[in-house]
């Protein structure tokens, strides 16, 4: 084994395991103490970052996990499943709500010094909940909600659906969304860290964006496949996306992305980029590919560090710990791993 082996990072600084189910989601709790993986068999696997030795299996859903998020409370997680249940995973795990035969497809949370809330997407509705699980409000949309995201300050929440996206004020007394309209089926959503741009992924292998200040539309197209994952860099300058043979990064500065060509990183292979996650502290993006390759790409220098070699299934989930010390990723064939990126003396 040499430093040049594409598995060097995984073998020397990683913890790995086969979960025997499609890894639907990966995330860390708010403090980064625990990594969590959600599987298509309804289980959530937890790995403590202190020793990275013991994997704990928590069966939460009778069916598949559809969404997994850090809890707004420290140390825990929230999961949604196709059994219609919303679960809280902490020192024990509890069912917070049941939506019958409707799938809980999105779960997101927000926490700062002033508020701790979370939201779920179920059918055409987004429900905002207080930290104790109580429903604060229910926001209805014209069609099924396909993506939900809080802005970086937790003031607004945006949902994608057919015909565009809806942007709501979380604390507003009168619930009228700002409607961001664009014809077609929108399948996922992102907001930049400054809260100035909303971007959706679309059925037709393209992205659509709205600059909120002046309602400027942004069209970002040319993808050979659908974009499953979008991630803004920490300063909002770049939007990294999956759906092409490379990591496609759109510039959100200097007048872009309108009229600008995107930057492409880690391309050259025939495998498609299937997942991306921007580093929370540096201008770098982790990318997973359909052949199982995982890399870390430095945006300024285009330098690529291999993290895991191809061969363990298409990468289907990926997340950084909040401090950027650990990268978690999982694949369609059930491979799950956490790699340590902390500096070593």
């Amino acid at each position: 084994m040499s430093v040049t082996s594409p598995d060097f990072m995984l073998e020397t600084r990683g913890a790995q395991r086969s979960l025997d189910a499609f890894v639907v989601a990966a995330t860390f709790d708010r403090h980064g103490g625990t990594a969590a993986f959600g599987g298509s068999d309804g289980s959530v696997w937890l790995l403590d970052m202190a020793d990275r030795a013991e994997w704990r299996n928590v069966m939460t859903h009778d069916g598949s996990v559809l969404a997994l998020s850090p809890d707004c409370l420290p140390g825990g997680f929230l999961s949604g499943g196709d059994d219609g249940k919303l679960c809280r995973i902490g020192t024990q795990h509890t069912c917070l709500a049941s939506f019958g035969s409707k799938w809980v497809e999105q779960v997101v949370s927000f926490a700062d010094a002033k508020q701790r809330i979370f939201a779920v997407g179920v059918g055409k509705a987004v429900q905002i909940h207080a930290e104790n699980g109580a429903v604060l409000k229910r926001l209805e949309h014209p069609s099924t909600v396909t993506g939900v995201v809080f802005d970086a300050r937790g003031k607004r929440i945006a949902a994608s659906h057919y015909g565009g996206a809806s942007l709501w004020f979380v604390a507003s007394k009168t619930d009228n969304p700002r409607k961001l309209e664009w014809k077609g089926s929108h399948t996922g959503i992102a907001i930049d860290p400054a809260g100035e741009n909303v971007v959706t992924s679309m059925q037709e292998n393209s992205l659509h964006g709205w600059r909120l200040a002046d309602n400027q539309h942004m069209r970002m197209s040319g993808y050979p496949g659908k974009t499953q994952a979008m991630s803004f860099t920490r300063n909002g300058k770049w939007l990294a996306t999956s759906g092409a043979e490379s990591v496609v990064l759109w510039p959100f500065f200097g007048g872009g992305p309108m009229g600008k060509a995107p930057t492409e990183l880690a391309g050259g292979d025939t495998a498609m980029c299937s997942f991306v996650a921007c580093h929370p502290k540096h201008d770098a993006v982790a990318a997973g590919f359909s052949d199982g390759l995982v890399v870390l790409a430095d945006i300024a220098t285009s330098r690529i560090v291999p993290v895991a070699a191809p061969g363990r299934g298409a990468i289907s989930a990926m997340a950084w710990s909040p401090d950027g010390a650990y990268l978690a990723f999982g694949s369609e064939t059930g491979f799950a791993a956490v790699v340590d990126f902390t500096a070593r003396a």
């Binding site: 189910a21 499609f22 639907v24 298509s40 068999d41 009778d62 069916g63 598949s64 559809l66 196709d82 059994d83 019958g100 035969s101 409707k102 799938w103 497809e105 059918g123 055409k124 069609s143 099924t144 396909t146 057919y162 014809k183 077609g184 089926s185 399948t187 679309m202 059925q203 037709e204 496949g225 659908k226 369609e332």
Partner: protein
């Protein structure tokens, strides 16, 4: 290749025709296979099955400049999620609402790349009520469309009509769709093996048993749906065929509900299967021609305003 794709059966039928009864039979009968079921009216299904998904039909237009290209957005999402636990079931059954036009469901399986890569539309099964169908056909376009789209038709409630009425209703179905397999049933009692895993798009079998009685003089210029089939014995030139069928679908796609065929391309030992729903077309090589099979290219059209001489001349013009 097709063995690794999950077969999808679409179950259509007018309200009260017996769709839910049929679905209950499929789910409760002991046939050793497991189906994921996507339905619209959850309460009606009396069977406990952890793979039943409740959805609202969401018909979306595609932004591809094709006016009749509509898909079911909810199916793209749900089938995509189901495929993440592919090992838990053998097939998928999609029940549509009584008033549904089958086109968006069928088109979903042609248009979405992810779904195409993992599933195959096995058959469209339409349940009709022998007693009430004649009246339905008078007052509803959807009832007619559902028959036109079908690969398999369950002619249900035959106990409620006499032999003459039954023959009349069957003739009425045949006028719309000559090519579907028809099963007579009471309380939807059709052997499950006749409905699922039909490989209806392995058209050779279907087309082999479709005598075409119509002659060229018959020239359908009406709003009524009709079906026609054509044969060419000379090998087909793929480029000529693509140019002709592409132009035809672009021009008449709205009238052409379904087009399907098996083609013998010049210089190729494999059968080429072609199918289209309105303007959306798809084609792929399937198994080789058998040694003793006549290498005849067959094409079937089901739709409105079909011009037999024109279609025949067009197809014959594709000979290499």
């Amino acid at each position: 290749m097709s063995d690794t794709l999950v077969p999808v059966t679409v179950l259509t039928g007018y309200l009260g025709a017996g769709k839910t009864t049929l679905l209950n039979r499929i789910l409760s009968e002991n046939h050793g296979r497991k189906y994921a079921v996507i339905i619209n009216e959850f309460g009606e299904l009396g069977v406990d099955n952890d793979l039943v998904v409740d959805t609202d039909e969401e018909v979306f237009e595609m932004n591809n400049g094709c006016i009749c290209c509509t898909v079911r957005g909810d199916l793209i999402r749900i089938v995509g999620a189901l495929m993440k636990r592919r090992t838990k079931f053998d097939g998928i059954i999609i029940e549509t609402t009584g008033l549904a036009n089958p086109a968006p469901v069928a088109q979903t399986f042609f248009v979405d790349d992810d779904i195409r890569a993992k599933t195959r539309l096995d058959a469209i099964v339409t349940v009709v009520d022998a007693k009430h169908l004649p009246r339905r056909l008078l007052d509803s376009h959807e009832a007619e469309d559902q028959i036109a789209f079908a690969d398999v038709i369950v002619l249900n409630k035959t106990d409620l009509v006499n032999a003459g009425e039954l023959a009349a209703v069957e003739a009425q179905i045949r006028r719309i769709n000559k090519f579907a397999k028809i099963h007579h049933a009471q309380k939807s009692n059709v052997p499950i093996a006749e409905l699922l895993d039909q490989g209806a798009f392995d058209l050779a079998r279907v087309l082999a048993h479709t005598p075409d009685f119509l002659t060229d003089d018959e020239h359908e210029h009406s709003d009524e749906i009709a079906s026609m089939s054509f044969e060419v014995t000379a090998p087909i030139d793929p480029e000529k065929f693509n140019a002709w069928i592409g132009g035809l679908l672009a021009q008449k796609g709205q009238d052409l509900l379904r087009t399907k065929g098996i083609l013998s391309y010049k210089g190729d030992d494999r059968r080429f299967a072609f199918q289209a729903v309105h303007m959306i077309a798809d084609g792929d090589f399937i198994g080789p021609w058998k040694a003793d099979d006549p290498r005849v290219s067959r094409l079937v059209f089901i739709g409105r305003n079909l011009n037999r001489p024109q279609l025949r001349r067009g197809f014959e013009g594709c000979a290499a």
